[in-house]
Symmetry: C2
Subunit: 393 residues, 2 copies
């Protein structure tokens, strides 16, 4: 009866980098893994069939407590039998807690010990989110990995301000776990899997380490979070406007000290080079809106750096976006055509750039995993980074 | 050396309805056929892989001389080696001549015997389109079926006005054919197929019958157009705001009198019931923006009538758009989810509704063809029409 909600096995290590398998109740996921972001129940601009195709083969995607709670609302998703069934996706789902979105999107925030009051960006209504509400919503969503409700201090926050925020996050983490445990016992989880091979079939809960760029607070936060005890651990509050060096200082310092036998998730990061560099520091999981968001604004990620499809230089360029890429977009379409679509305001521009960008991110992670397993990660990392600057962008 | 550019064979007839095969240099197309509209080199909101999939299996799509000439411009498409290669589509392409778009989109039109002067809706520049320019552009596009450059009289035009316009269309048709023949001889066609089994491998040219709602002028136009001689014949200038009865009066009167051994193409029409009713009057080919355009504004076509996905009544409805539809959207997604996507402004709403609508139109035509072949078309037509009004919309 004491089966865990997930299993994490490391198969290869090279320096701090590790390759392994994270098994959720929806099946195994090879790590390090990149998770496409499906904010409102859709990874913007791409069909689930494509996410499942060999081209992308995304094993886990994100959903967003804040967005889904405000719209369509929990009643609708419950009526469908949970988020998986509502959106039509049987693979793993991770939901974030809404803490970050309240911080970045909510207007008129009022933070108290109890939780956060804010105005909905959808209809202006006054809403209240707390650890208990967030756990309640995430149980109704039935996601496979639940994140604790945290507070995210601004990147430039003072030591005092950050410490206050970090301590609140710790208390909220404790309340999150209590509420989460209660909800699991009550059977509130809509995504329960009855026959999850060797696993409990229940949701997993991840803690989040905060502390902005203050390393002493990050250490303190890590200690407290591990003390409470979670199925996995995340580093939050990075890639929120701080200097790149601050981000890597935190990852350098914290990632290797996180529990070795649990998955380590770096939230909201980052560029392809950020991913590879963070893997080198011991991170296992990533999510980021860059491939989808930038795809919609005409930016392609390629093995030779970024490419802005709007540039006139591509007007008659019949090469694919990335000559080293074998995704369905690069197999079929030219820069010239993609530029035409973008300049004409055609939806297909966003669809195709999103597809290619996701393919590039997911393929990069495949390369990372293979190289760790074959003992070639340092070489992969060096060559990947050199190639990225080939176009000088 | 006197091989034709296309072949048209009728295999079954039932009343005026006919089922057969239109073979272009890109291969055979079963008729009656619906052609999705790819205005600017993309059928809006859908990938070519989907158009080719068993779900849709579109055998021919439209391109638009007016739009492609203005943007990206002919130089770009020529540099890619023609429209097929530019967009990445190897199946058949029909291009319209630009006549209709000048009429419906161009500002400051000035029509003379020579052609039409207008301002580009893209950049406001002054442009001039004539039979010769249109043939030149369509040769550069390398489409498989070229349409003559015509003038489209307003639906409410007087007899006198319509006659003047129709006569101009006839003179332009003659000039179109002359210019077209010259361009084929010069090898201007970028889409030439060297080894088109039994066919010349050159482009085909269709004439267009005009005359608005005036049946005598329609007859006259048909006579003159057949006199010039084309590979196929279209009825233009319908579905432009006239009463539905006017449209069917024209089709009733004209379609059965069009050459029996050539394909008959009803331009820009229409709803699923318009398609079935027009097939019953002897039409073989259709194009219409309804499935794609209405998909983007939240309207689904179903076997039980239209469905507006915005309606609150679908908020918790877990049924597919159309319970009789087996397309990938209906197999996977609910009305509730699609409504959520639409209300959230998510691009995936347009993508999925477009896919379903195209599947419904193309599947309807499959049903039409089968029923003609099996001698059941009257039954198909009756049941299809009855079912369409089931939802009372």
């Amino acid at each position: 009866m004491n089966r865990p909600p997930l299993r994490f096995e490391i198969h290869s290590e090279e320096g701090e980098a590790r390759a392994g398998v994270l098994t959720t109740r929806r099946g195994p996921i090879e790590t390090p893994v990149f998770m496409p972001v499906g904010t409102a129940g859709t990874v913007k601009g791409i069909r689930f069939e494509e996410l499942e195709s060999d081209d992308l083969n995304a094993r886990i995607i994100l959903g967003n407590t804040y967005h889904l709670w405000l719209r369509p609302g929990i009643d609708v998703i419950k009526a469908a039998g949970g988020l998986h069934r509502f959106i039509g996706w049987e693979r793993a789902l991770l939901t974030d807690s809404g803490g970050f979105q309240v911080w970045s999107l909510g207007a008129l925030r009022k933070i108290s010990e109890e939780g956060t009051e804010f105005r909905s960006h959808v209809d202006g209504s006054l809403r209240f989110l707390s650890p208990e509400v967030s756990m309640d919503v995430q149980a109704a969503l039935g996601s496979d990995i639940v994140m604790v409700f945290d507070e995210c201090a601004p990147g430039a926050a003072s030591h005092e301000e950050t410490e206050r925020s970090m301590q609140l996050t710790t208390r909220w983490a404790r309340r999150s776990k209590t509420a989460f445990t209660q909800l699991q016992a009550e059977g509130a989880d809509t995504g329960r899997v009855l026959d999850a091979d060797g696993l409990s079939g229940a949701q997993a809960l991840f803690g989040i380490v905060q502390g902005a760029g203050h390393l002493d607070l990050r250490h303190h936060s890590l200690e407290q979070t591990v003390d409470i005890g979670f199925d996995g651990y995340a580093i939050g509050g990075l890639s929120v406007g701080e200097e790149k060096q601050v981000m890597f200082d935190v990852i350098d310092e914290i990632a290797p000290k996180m529990p070795k036998d649990a998955p380590r998730y770096l939230m909201g990061v980052g560029t392809p080079e950020d991913l590879v560099e963070s893997v080198a520091r011991g991170v296992d999981m990533f999510d980021c809106v860059l491939p989808t968001r930038n795809g919609r604004t005409g930016q392609a990620f390629t093995s030779r750096g970024k490419l802005n499809i709007k540039n006139a230089q591509w007007a008659q360029d019949n090469r694919p976006l990335d000559e080293s890429c074998s995704c369905s977009v690069c197999r079929r379409h030219s820069r010239s055509y993609l530029r035409h679509l973008y300049m004409s305001g055609e939806m297909l521009a966003s669809i195709l750039l999103t597809h290619h960008n996701l393919a590039f991110f997911l393929d990069t992670m495949r390369g990372v995993r293979q190289s760790i397993r074959s003992g070639d990660f340092p070489k992969f990392r060096r060559e990947f980074t050199e190639r990225l600057s080939a176009n000088g962008d």
